[in-house]
């Protein structure tokens, strides 16, 4: 009987829990401790290009090492105006892109959720299918479209709408378009889930009582879908702040996003402590949204 008592888990059960738990501790949690550690060490040339702080050789040695902790990398971040600019621009670009994504995804998700029942799943599948196709290729497609001699400019010139090509490619605007396009499925999914769950009788009752369609939307549909809005916004905003591929391929020299700045610090300058410090600051910046996202996930999990 003890095998069925949850208080006395069997060996198999322990294993089922231990395997993913230990894997995630080793390959997800521990690495962040290492980033923090490296960010506090001093940059040296060579492989690995940092001076280790934590190799364990007894307590006295550890206390000695503690004094070697160096805030150099963090000080460097504050002195280099590129970093401050990168953080500000990343949050701004990701923020604007998130709002536009929401404005496009909301009517789209609503139209899917209000479609005839047998069509809904098919429409939803087609709306999120692009998420399964290569991210890199979808960004690449926008290079084809946005370049000065690209398809949008060609079409507009042929149609005599413009004479000179519009300079969209290699600007922050192109980065925003890229983020909106690639993250749209992440916004549609939670919005659809929230809208589909709504009891239609509520909206009908409000309409019967004389509410205008806009009134119904504003007072019934929108407030009831807020959990979906919050989830979607977080799922787009958090990864978009640290985005690397989109600013790198669609942005120009004016584009400073922290993901690419970090990438360059790491791969081009080979300054691991500074890259690590930049990552830690980015994490601190995202702690609020991340905590909110985790809280929302736990709550929706508790609801089942």
């Amino acid at each position: 009987m003890s095998a069925r008592d949850p208080k006395f888990p069997g060996l198999g059960q322990r294993l089922v829990l231990a395997m993913p738990f230990l894997w995630l501790v080793l390959f997800f949690l521990l690495p962040f401790a290492l980033v923090a550690k490296v960010s506090l060490s001093q940059s040296v040339l060579g492989q690995p290009p940092y001076q280790p702080v934590f190799d364990w050789h007894g307590l006295s040695d550890f206390l000695g090492k503690l004094r070697q902790f160096s805030a150099d990398a963090y000080v460097g971040l504050t002195q280099d105006p590129i970093y401050l600019q990168s953080y500000v621009d990343s949050v701004l670009i990701a923020g604007i892109a998130t709002i536009i994504t929401l404005l496009i995804a909301y009517p789209f998700a609503l139209a899917i959720a209000r479609a005839p029942r047998r069509w809904r799943i098919v429409l939803l599948l087609f709306a999120i299918a692009p998420f399964w196709t290569s991210f890199l290729i979808r960004i690449y497609a926008w290079i084809l479209l946005l370049k000065d001699e690209g398809l949008i400019n060609n079409a507009l010139i042929v149609l005599h709408i413009i004479r000179e090509p519009l300079h969209i490619f290699a600007t922050n605007g192109a980065v925003v378009i890229g983020i909106v396009y690639s993250y749209l499925p992440f916004m549609i999914l939670p919005l659809y889930a929230a809208l589909d769950r709504q009891d239609k009788a509520l909206a009908e009752a409000a309409a019967d009582l004389g509410a205008t369609p806009w009134g119904v939307f504003k007072r019934i549909t929108l407030p009831l879908s807020m959990p979906g809005v919050i989830a979607g916004v977080l799922m787009v905003f958090i990864p978009a702040v640290g985005e690397f591929v989109i600013p790198d391929l669609l942005g120009g020299s004016e584009t400073l996003m922290i993901g690419s700045t970090m990438w360059n610090e790491f791969f081009a300058n080979r300054d691991w402590p500074t890259a690590s410090a930049a990552a830690i600051v980015l994490l601190v910046l995202l702690v609020g949204p991340l905590a909110l996202y985790e809280h929302w996930q736990m709550r929706s999990e508790a609801r089942g």
């Binding site: 490296v38 399964w132 736990m298």
Partner: protein
């Protein structure tokens, strides 16, 4: 009332049409231009399949495609095994100690910026003294993939009645046998879907692979990325079309499988 209903229907239709156009036009254009005879990417020079021929003659690219497939298969299998265990633990083990930490570690990688995950894993591999290459990329991709598998399988597992498994236990089956015979077939479509998603993510990943790979294990996205940085070429269009076709086939098969198994 009738007029309002029709106008709502019309608005709904146009929203859907615009939305799908925005999602699919860029992809369709890439496919179209992969059959363009002209070397200039934005000028139509007639129908041709020459870029596909050049693509298959590009040994470097083909080799990277093979590496990416190997990594995706290995990472997908690992992620499916561990992720399914994680889902079972989340749904069936009640409120064990450390559950909040466990669940946070499963949800966090889904939104964590890839540059941070890549950098963190690289520092881990360096401090463990592991040589970077195929193995490290597989481990990195499996870690991300297992979180997606866990969430997909968890959603399905919640709908499975634990009474079914308990009945098998009462009839004398061991816990393991009951799981294999009762629950596993019920969640099999979700496990298959999770595997496909984990493998697709691995095939597609540029950032984490760039941090965690070493010489000799250049994945396909890394090759495509460096080609795109140098400029747009028709060969990439052809490559993209083939990848899109592969994904479309996979999605179609997955949809068929889910339809057949779903109650």
């Amino acid at each position: 009332m009738k007029a309002r209903l029709t106008s709502t229907k019309a608005m709904q239709g146009s929203v859907l049409a615009l939305g799908f156009a925005f999602l699919y036009l860029p992809i369709v254009l890439v496919i179209l231009y992969s059959f363009n005879a002209s070397r200039l990417v934005t000028v139509w020079g007639g129908f041709s399949t020459r870029w596909y021929g050049e693509l298959f003659a590009n040994d470097q690219l083909m080799q990277s495609a093979l590496i990416s497939l190997e990594v995706a298969l290995a990472a997908g299998i690992l992620a499916t095994l561990i992720g399914t265990c994680a889902a079972v633990a989340l749904v069936r083990f009640g409120r064990f100690r450390g559950r909040t930490l466990f669940a946070s570690m499963i949800y966090a990688p889904l939104v964590m910026p890839e540059v941070i995950i890549g950098l963190a894993l690289l520092l881990l591999f360096v401090s463990l003294g592991l040589e970077r290459g195929l193995v490290t990329v597989v481990v990195a991709h499996a870690t991300l993939g297992l979180c997606y598998v866990a969430i997909i399988v968890r959603a399905r597992l919640i709908d499975c009645d634990p009474a079914l498994e308990e009945a098998a236990l009462d009839l004398g089956a061991t816990r393991f046998r009951a799981f294999m015979l009762i629950t596993l077939p019920l969640i099999a479509p979700a496990i298959a879907g999770g595997f496909l998603l984990a493998a697709t993510l691995s095939l597609d990943d540029l950032v984490i692979a760039s941090f965690t790979t070493g010489p000799g294990a250049t994945t396909l996205p890394m090759r495509i990325y460096s080609a795109v940085r140098l400029g747009v070429t028709p060969q990439i269009n052809a490559m993209s079309t083939l990848l899109l076709a592969a994904v479309a086939c996979g999605l179609g098969l997955a949809a068929l499988a889910l339809r057949r198994r779903a109650p």
